[in-house]
């Protein structure tokens, strides 16, 4: 009897062993990087469900025009994309279109699969007029290496209701005003500002915005050597350290989500971030839209200049042959047409900013409810974009090795040395300078 049971169990296990792999195979799609004969693969890293759905709608609209090559999107993770694209290129399964940011482009180009898109960018520029900052970061060796698609810029966000309670009437314009306001707004369980100090890109970006407004945005010499250790950098880091004292005590673990959560909950009154603060504000804070204030990043009291971290996201073409590359370019042309550009940008309204003149005026973008509701802040972001910059790409630079610095989050590590280890800003900057030199030399 027991043997029969055992036999049944063994037969069941064998059946499972046969059936389940078949189920596993059923979902297999084979190597996808290169797509099939008439399908172009697009990799983007905009993972939240709302962005995936919005991008898919644009892709569906393109595919509905019956192009020779249809487009299929595959969503990737920014944290994994460096290894993944390297493996994919080596095994010749790379996508036809890969979304990018400037420093990621410097990483992918040496892999050897990126095609120049100079003719296409020039053509689109004539038709739609790109802002200079949108294109510059993708130009090197007299070629454009990616087609700019959408911009992002940081602002100072503040809670008008909390400012009013503290008796503050205007947003701070200088570093000293920013610090004074943060101190005034820190009371009881409420903190004046939330700035991140985790070892991540969020910290890199916030400290860099302050470096820009303090005149330390360019930390390379004309010859491309690291020149991070200078008084302006130390001053920006000193301010950051002071702001961290007015931040929640867990700021050492902050990335993007935590400051926004603290801001919307009313636990902090200010934050420095991009336009993702617009859309969820009312729902998450329970306050009216009019309570959300925005202002340019405050400038250093002496020698300050307008600025903020700003970069355009773009698309590289990695197709293995010319015909597929032409198909990829046709899709990018379609996206930048004003009637399609709005739905594309409104995948995250307020965060994704237009890069073309006609896109900024297109009703398909401006008619969005969030854009209309926060028109003042959206206009301020577009204005701030004009003075924005990104490390390694300011003043017409194209620093090939910037990916090695941003990939290691050296700016964030410098912040951490001051915040967690109690090092002086001058010593931390000196350490950062050394680390950057070593990273570039490797």
């Amino acid at each position: 009897m027991r043997f029969l049971k055992l036999k049944r169990a063994a037969v069941g296990a064998l059946a499972l062993a046969v059936v389940l792999p078949a189920a596993a195979c059923g979902g297999s799609s084979g190597p996808s990087g290169g797509g099939d004969d008439k399908t172009l693969t697009l990799w983007h890293m905009e993972q939240p469900p709302n962005r995936v759905a919005a991008f898919q709608k644009v892709i569906d609209a393109y595919n509905a025009t019956n192009p020779e090559y249809k487009v299929q999107a595959q969503v990737q993770d920014w944290n994994q994309i460096y290894t993944k694209i390297s493996s994919a290129v080596q095994s010749k399964t790379q996508p036809d279109i890969l979304f990018t940011i400037p420093d990621f482009t410097t990483y992918v180009r040496p892999l050897g699969a990126v095609r120049p898109v100079t003719a296409l960018v020039d053509e689109l520029d004539k038709e739609h007029t790109f802002g200079d900052a949108a294109k510059a970061a993708y130009r090197d060796d007299n070629e454009y290496w990616a087609v700019p698609l959408y911009g992002m810029v940081q602002m100072l966000w503040y809670r008008k209701d909390l400012f009013a309670k503290a008796g503050i009437t205007d947003a701070p314009k200088t570093w000293s005003e920013l610090l004074a306001d943060a101190q005034k707004l820190t009371s009881g369980s409420q903190k004046g500002i939330a700035v991140p100090a985790g070892k991540n890109l969020a910290t890199d970006q916030v400290i860099y915005s302050l470096m820009l407004t303090g005149g330390a945005g360019n930390f390379f010499t004309g010859g491309g050597e690291v020149a991070f250790d200078k008084p302006q950098t130390v001053a920006a880091l000193s301010l950051y350290a002071d702001l961290l004292k007015q931040s929640p005590s867990d700021a050492g673990n902050y990335s993007w989500g935590e400051p926004q959560a603290a801001f919307n909950s009313g636990a902090v009154a200010m934050a420095i971030e991009k336009g993702q603060y617009l859309a969820p504000f009312e729902k998450e804070s329970g306050r009216p839209a009019s309570d959300l204030g925005c202002a340019p990043i405050p400038q250093a009291d002496t020698g300050g200049e307008p600025g903020s971290i700003y970069y355009s996201n773009a698309a590289m073409v990695l197709s293995g042959d010319d015909v597929r590359a032409k198909g990829a370019e046709d899709f990018l042309r379609f996206v930048l047409k004003p009637e399609n550009y709005g739905p594309f940008l409104n995948a995250e309204p307020g965060l994704f900013l237009p890069l073309t003149e006609d896109g900024a005026k297109a009703p398909s973008w401006t008619d969005n409810e969030v854009i209309k509701k926060y028109q003042g802040c959206v206009d301020a972001m577009l204005e701030q974009s004009k003075t924005g910059g990104l490390f390694g790409f300011v003043d017409g630079q194209y620093v090939d090795s910037i990916g090695k610095i941003s990939g290691q989050n050296i700016l964030a590590q410098v912040v951490q040395r001051v915040y967690s280890s109690g090092e002086s800003p001058a010593a931390a900057v000196k350490w950062g300078d050394q680390q950057m030199r070593e990273a570039v030399a490797r």
Binding site: A24, S28, P48, P49, T93, S265
Partner: protein
């Protein structure tokens, strides 16, 4: 009175430990039933004031979570099944049959287990690409079994040693060969050990992130750890959605422990003392 006082430190320690272990789980659970404003409220609520299923509704309708769940189940079940088969057969050969050099082979298997998986990422990707296995669930099953089988083979060692060799000899006298002995004598007695192995392999696969993130590129083949990471996203976090997703991901990993947890703990202990 004195007895009660003596028990106080133990009870206090247990209470603290319970809060530390179950506190985050409780927080995830209640947060999953709160709306976006209540989750972020600076004065947190222990019990949802306005309980809502919106997060779960959005999770299952506006995201690909059901697809991730299905994929994780298929990959985890297959991983558990093949790990049990491979490690049982390997352990039987190594620890039960008198094969010359078995000890050395067993040692080598454990050495293979010690190689950091991340070192194998790029070469494995290239091998799978050559075999056209990239972007398939099969690739994940193969990798998972490759990582679980060595440890599980070693895990079964204690269970094998707990079964008297007299049984083998008695079966041999009755005319049973090695395969029949393995299936009819040893296998039934090894059920607790195999449950342990199955649970370990299931949970390993359920939580595996690194290889799943590299070997799968299509959205319709992604597993839960990758899917949850996608829900987190960059720049913004929908905390309610994340909590609901986390809760639905934890539950299937806990359920096997409810049924096989006793064997699992017993199995680790048996392996330790033999």
């Amino acid at each position: 009175m004195r007895a009660a006082l003596n028990r106080l430190p133990r009870l206090a320690t247990m209470a603290v430990l319970t809060v530390v272990v179950l506190g985050p789980l409780y927080w995830i659970t209640v947060s999953a039933f709160k709306d976006r404003e209540e989750i972020l409220r600076s004065t947190p609520t222990l019990i949802p004031q306005h309980p809502t299923l919106d997060n779960f509704r959005e999770l299952f309708t506006a995201t690909d979570y059901p697809t991730y769940l299905t994929n994780s189940f298929i990959v985890a079940l297959l991983t558990a099944l093949f790990t049990m088969m491979v490690s049982f057969a390997a352990a039987y050969g190594l620890y039960r049959l008198r094969i010359p050099g078995a000890d050395k082979v067993a040692g080598l298997i454990l050495v293979a287990y010690m190689i950091p998986g991340t070192l194998l990422l790029v070469p494995l990707y290239q091998v799978f690409a050559t075999l056209e296995l990239v972007d398939t669930r099969n690739a994940l099953v193969i990798v998972n079994v490759a990582f679980t089988a060595p440890f599980c083979t070693w895990l079964l060692r204690g269970f094998f040693f707990a079964i008297p060799r007299d049984l083998d000899e008695a079966a041999a006298v009755d005319g049973a060969g090695p395969v029949r002995m393995m299936l009819r004598i040893i296998l039934p007695l090894l059920a607790p050990g195999l449950s342990t192995v199955g649970v370990y392999a299931f949970v390993f696969s359920w939580t595996e992130f690194v290889f799943a993130s590299q070997l799968v590129v299509s959205d319709d083949l992604k597993t839960l750890p990758i899917g949850l990471s996608a829900i987190m996203g960059q720049y913004t976090v929908n905390w309610g959605l994340l909590m609901a997703g986390t809760l639905c991901t934890i539950v299937p990993a806990i359920v096997p422990f409810l049924f096989a947890g006793r064997y699992f703990v017993g199995g680790l202990t048996a392996g330790a003392v033999k």
